[in-house]
């Protein structure tokens, strides 16, 4: 009998964790950034699907912390630490942040992908989490999934197929 792997889905502007085995996945990353944090020793994987670079511009009543790079990353780190991860062992990977459409005279909204990437990197540096791999930029969408038992991140896109990192 084949044991079915459990899959945790992370929606847009959402974050979650999975431990020991199974897969954590987020689909259809465009300008959004999928960021993972992994503690190899306790096989704990966390993933956030970040939509916007900064919560400064938020106009919503109840802030969805998973939506903004500057709030989602600390929240994800906290979830991992609560579950026993060590900040020294945690490594981060990220994918996405593409520019789906290009126009002449593109304003800031058009550059949201690269800005998401920059903001995530700045926050990681501030949190002192090592970024060990990234597949960002370009003009195409990505679906990413991390295997909790290995910490390997699979990245799938329509044009370039599947890659691992």
């Amino acid at each position: 009998m084949i044991e079915e792997q459990s899959v945790v889905k992370v929606g847009m502007a959402d974050l979650n964790v999975i431990q020991h085995s199974g897969i954590i996945r987020t689909v259809g990353l465009g300008s959004c950034v999928g960021l993972t944090m992994y503690d190899p020793q306790i096989k704990l994987a966390g993933m956030a699907h970040v939509m916007l670079p900064s919560s400064d511009i938020a106009r919503e009543g109840q802030l969805n912390i998973a939506k903004y790079a500057d709030t989602a990353l600390p929240a994800l780190l906290e979830r991992l630490l609560e579950l026993g991860a060590s900040p020294l062992r945690i490594v981060a990977k990220m994918a996405g942040g593409s520019q789906m459409f290009t126009f002449a005279g593109s304003g800031d909204t058009m550059r949201i992908g690269p800005r998401n990437v920059e903001s995530c990197k700045a926050k990681l540096a501030e949190l002192r989490i090592r970024l060990i791999a990234e597949d960002t930029g370009g003009n195409y969408g990505r679906t990413i999934e991390m295997d909790a038992s290995t910490g390997i991140l699979h990245i799938r896109s329509v044009q370039t197929g599947v890659k691992e990192m």
């Binding site: 969805n64 789906m100 990505r142």
Partner: protein
């Protein structure tokens, strides 16, 4: 965002009419291009969580062809014209006579033709809307993408991102008689545009 939850049915009707007029004209334009009747479903106006918006075209991972135009002017927003790759090939085949093999890729000529078709349809959508509302609305040069629906549509939700986890969209499906060309128009006005649209149509905004 809360404010949209309180839109009364009456206001939804107004927005439905907005979609009806816009997409109706676009469907007429398509029908002229194809020289065939094109049917249109009654527009749906829905406040949807971001996640569910891509469900409307088959899920976040579904590969779609999208022509995207940013609407500028007094009531800015995002306009998407979405087709399946097969429908896009079929459309190209009938309009320009390109072979309709679906190897899943579009060459430069095909991309350019698709952009132009999108431009014509979106132009007629917007100009009828502008006439109706007396607001100036003009499209940017269209951009084409063939990719995962989630990746494409999320781009149109950024303006809503600051405000909540839902977006209000006006969705119209149309299909050609024999169903070979089926497409969808998504108009996602920026959050601030709704008040302007209502105001110009004489809908009171204060008493929700």
């Amino acid at each position: 965002m809360e404010v949209f939850k309180h839109f009364k049915e009456f206001k939804m009707d107004v927005l439905r009419e907005v979609g009806n007029i816009g997409a109706g004209n676009a469907a007429t334009a398509l029908s002229r291009l194809l020289n065939k009747p094109v049917d249109m479903a009654v527009p749906k106006v829905q406040l949807l969580p971001f996640e569910e918006i891509s469900e409307k075209v088959g899920g976040a991972e579904q590969v779609v062809v999208a022509i995207f135009l940013r609407v500028e002017g007094e009531a800015p927003g995002n306009l998407f014209f979405i087709l399946s790759p097969e429908a896009a090939k079929s459309l190209l085949n009938r309009l320009v006579g390109f072979p309709s093999e679906t190897d899943g890729m579009f060459n430069e000529m095909e991309q350019s033709a698709l952009c132009e078709i999108g431009n014509i349809l979106a132009g007629s959508y917007l100009s009828s809307l502008a006439d109706f509302t007396k607001l100036s609305m003009y499209p940017t040069v269209p951009a084409l993408a063939m990719d995962m629906a989630g990746a494409i549509l999320s781009f149109g939700l950024l303006q809503f991102g600051h405000m909540g986890d839902d977006a209000l969209l006006i969705d119209t499906t149309f299909l050609e008689g024999d169903h070979e060309v089926e497409g969808q128009f998504f108009l996602i006005p920026d959050p601030d545009s709704f008040a302007k649209i209502f105001k110009s149509l004489g809908v009171p905004i204060d008493h929700d």
